[in-house]
Symmetry: C2
Subunit: 451 residues, 2 copies
């Protein structure tokens, strides 16, 4: 079997690379090889336990991609043979490629603590069969401990309390979502999560997981305290799936991901890599990053898909900007770029701009939510380094405004004179648009510091 362009992996990154290749190289044959006939939307997985009810409700249909002219092969790649541009598969005949995109994704990391293999200790994998296998079992949990307050841990906690479980969320660092938010911003959402019934324990380390008859019975903390549990969710991160790439001789970076250049090319001619299996570089610090975010993966995958046969200098990644958002139903949060604490830790001098307002105007309109914007600027360059928002459901798109501002290296002056639209039912008021007022707040500090 011979294809022009072959993608290993059908996750959002693999799928986006295929779609971009299909859009740009209309005369090429494109094949996606993936293990599952049906695959889950990864960011929707926490919701299959509560809001979505059923696992099958989170399946991403393969049909639109097929309709666009992308072929699919449900099989597992066993070996990449770069010198022959050939793939060996588990059951099908070999596939030859001109261009290969590796999008093998990531797998949950379970830290090697005592008791982590007890029945009832569960990590949130991404395969549909695995999620189906834990679905009923997890939903029946009455006494749930979630270890790790990243996005998966927070979303799982909020879904599990909806099911009526007692939930304790344990985080070693000093806030929930510690990598995305500063403490002053995340305090209000943490209170909301508490008010939903989640007991949040920050600055808390687990020493071991305890059990009876091979079943989990509780989580023992460093302090000696025991938290009883019939289910323990390990929301402790993911590691890149690189064994296939490594065996083929692709270079692996210190973070454990495949090394690529700005066009997502690996060290082998004609082989690209995208998504969670790749070592990213941070947009500002230029450091290796294990950022695993479907949206970032999809963006970079499109760059790969558009540079397969001829490089387009205007389409290369300048580094990954972490842009996150999530919702606890009645409050939503978004973050982009560096936090204040990470910027300071990296050696940036910063100026902070903040604004508190509401997301409709006037505030007595139905469904009005408080809206808080924090912007982090470089003191010397005046360039935006990061942004955090807490507000209503528009937070998800609003953080994308600031993600774009970061991507364009916008300055505090540019954001202060930014043009925007407002509407009573959809946004803050024209005189109170919070991104602009937060920029004005920072500008006032800078101007009066100079005078």
């Amino acid at each position: 079997m011979k294809y022009d362009i072959v993608i290993i992996g059908g996750n959002p990154s693999g799928g986006s690379a295929a779609a971009a290749a299909r859009e740009i190289y209309k005369d090429k044959k494109v094949l996606v090889i993936r293990k599952e006939e049906k695959s889950l939307i990864p960011c929707g997985i926490p919701y299959v336990f509560g809001t979505l009810e059923d696992v099958d409700n989170d399946v991403k249909s393969i049909q639109p991609a097929k309709n666009s002219g992308i072929d699919f092969l449900i099989d597992e790649v066993q070996k990449i043979v770069p010198d022959e541009k050939r793939l060996e598969l588990k059951t099908s005949e070999d596939v030859n490629y001109e261009k290969l995109i590796v999008a093998t994704g990531s797998t949950p990391v379970v830290p090697p603590i005592e008791g982590s293999t007890l029945k009832g200790v569960i990590s949130i994998g991404k395969e549909i069969d695995y999620i189906k296998s834990i679905h009923a079992f997890l939903k029946e949990g009455k006494d749930v401990v979630v270890i790790g307050a990243g996005f998966i841990g927070v979303e799982m906690s909020n879904e599990m309390v909806k099911l009526g479980a007692k939930v304790t969320l344990i985080e070693a660092m000093d806030t929930i979502l510690p990598l995305a938010f500063d403490e002053d911003v995340i305090a209000a959402p943490a209170q909301v999560l508490s008010s939903h019934g989640v007991e949040i324990r920050v600055n808390t380390k687990v020493s071991k997981i305890e059990g009876n008859d091979g079943k989990v019975s509780g989580v023992r903390l460093d302090s000696g305290e025991l938290i009883t549990a019939d289910r323990v969710i390990m929301a402790t991160g993911y590691r890149p799936n690189v064994s296939l790439a490594q065996e083929a001789g692709l270079s692996i970076g210190s973070s454990g991901g495949i090394i690529t250049d700005e066009y997502l090319r690996t060290n082998y001619d004609g082989i690209f890599a995208v998504g969670d299996c790749v070592e990213h570089r941070d947009f500002f610090t230029r450091k290796q990053s294990r950022l695993m975010l479907a949206s970032t993966g999809a963006s970079e995958a499109r760059i790969a898909g558009m540079n397969l046969y001829d490089l387009r200098v205007v389409r290369q990644t300048k580094g990954s900007i972490a842009i996150f958002s999530t919702s606890l139903d009645d409050i939503s949060m978004g973050a982009a770029g560096l936090t204040e604490k990470s910027a300071l830790a990296e050696g940036f001098q910063v100026v902070i701009g903040q604004n508190k307002g509401v997301d409709h105007h006037p505030a007595c309109l139905p469904d009005t939510k408080e809206q808080m914007v924090k912007l982090i600027f470089s003191k010397c360059a005046g360039v935006i380094l990061g942004a955090q928002i807490v507000g209503g459901p528009s937070t998800g798109e609003m953080i994308n405004i600031l993600g774009l501002a970061i991507q364009k290296h916008m300055t505090v002056s540019e954001l202060a004179i930014m043009q925007y639209g407002t509407q009573p039912l959809l946004t803050a008021g024209p005189g109170n648009y919070p991104i602009v007022l937060a920029a004005m707040n920072a500008l006032g500090k800078i101007e009066n510091f100079k005078m």
Copy 2:
């Protein structure tokens, strides 16, 4: 009385100019002179008749501005004496200024058609006393004709049907919201407005308004047809309030607004003008524009407020981008920059990118809405000229992403590789982010055109 900085007018533009001046020039005394103790949020006015119920619910509190150190004088300026930097007021003593910002706003235009002075023919002014005077009378209307399907006309129509009135919306051009949207985009929202009970009559001209005993009884169309009515709302635009400026010798442009430069300076030293009373210039066409939008006014007002004593070259307006959004409750629409038809009419060659998807992922999540994005790019430069969105409540912030992209002259390639965040409850999926897919769609056309 002597102030460093005086603003005439307390609308969003005047207020934003004052706030910017207060933020940047912390040692200056700032005074706002306005006619009303209480003033309405202008964009909220259509909602006082329905959703907001009471006029007082749309009042913008003066207190935050007072708390920030801005003084207020409730009075009417009778004369500007530029040579003496002095204002004459209706009741108070004269006020001397160093810097003056004119923000005198706009007044509804009532076209000179027969019957426009009949009782029951109402325009949507902005003074609180006026709106209170028509509030009960308008709400009692059973048979309402709205003339003009711009934003005010559309929002008023949607509010009036909620009150149980029979509503007919008449528009001379070929769609509702004809200046902001192309017909292919606005067709679905127009259907929703119809489904709410508004009878939409496009390509329809009014010949006169008919009455009995001085009261309106119906609207006669060019075709001869009579539409009966007990209330007629004239949503036929606004004209700049420039008599004060004109008497003082400020230059007035061909569009009827005060002429300013990129720093919002008028032809008199120390006098700036902002908001609806100003003649804008379009961002792309550079033509004089009568754009009247509170958000645009507020943005430009901040530029004036930051350039009063010393020019900041990084903070000047490069022309006004019209960025609109509105909502019909169950569907929302946003538009920024040029439409396809206006771009073509102005002589731009264009490439269109489009995408249809949903605003949550997976689509079976509660409150998921269809989401459609249309992007208009310049064919030769690849630069974005305009954008239109139809979707859910996130449309209001999403159009601001595209407004920023326009402001930064972003190209189709830059938008195709844009980084963004996604979240099941808040946005489209990572592989389906509609702005990026619409850019990809345009890029595919451009690339395959070149090949």
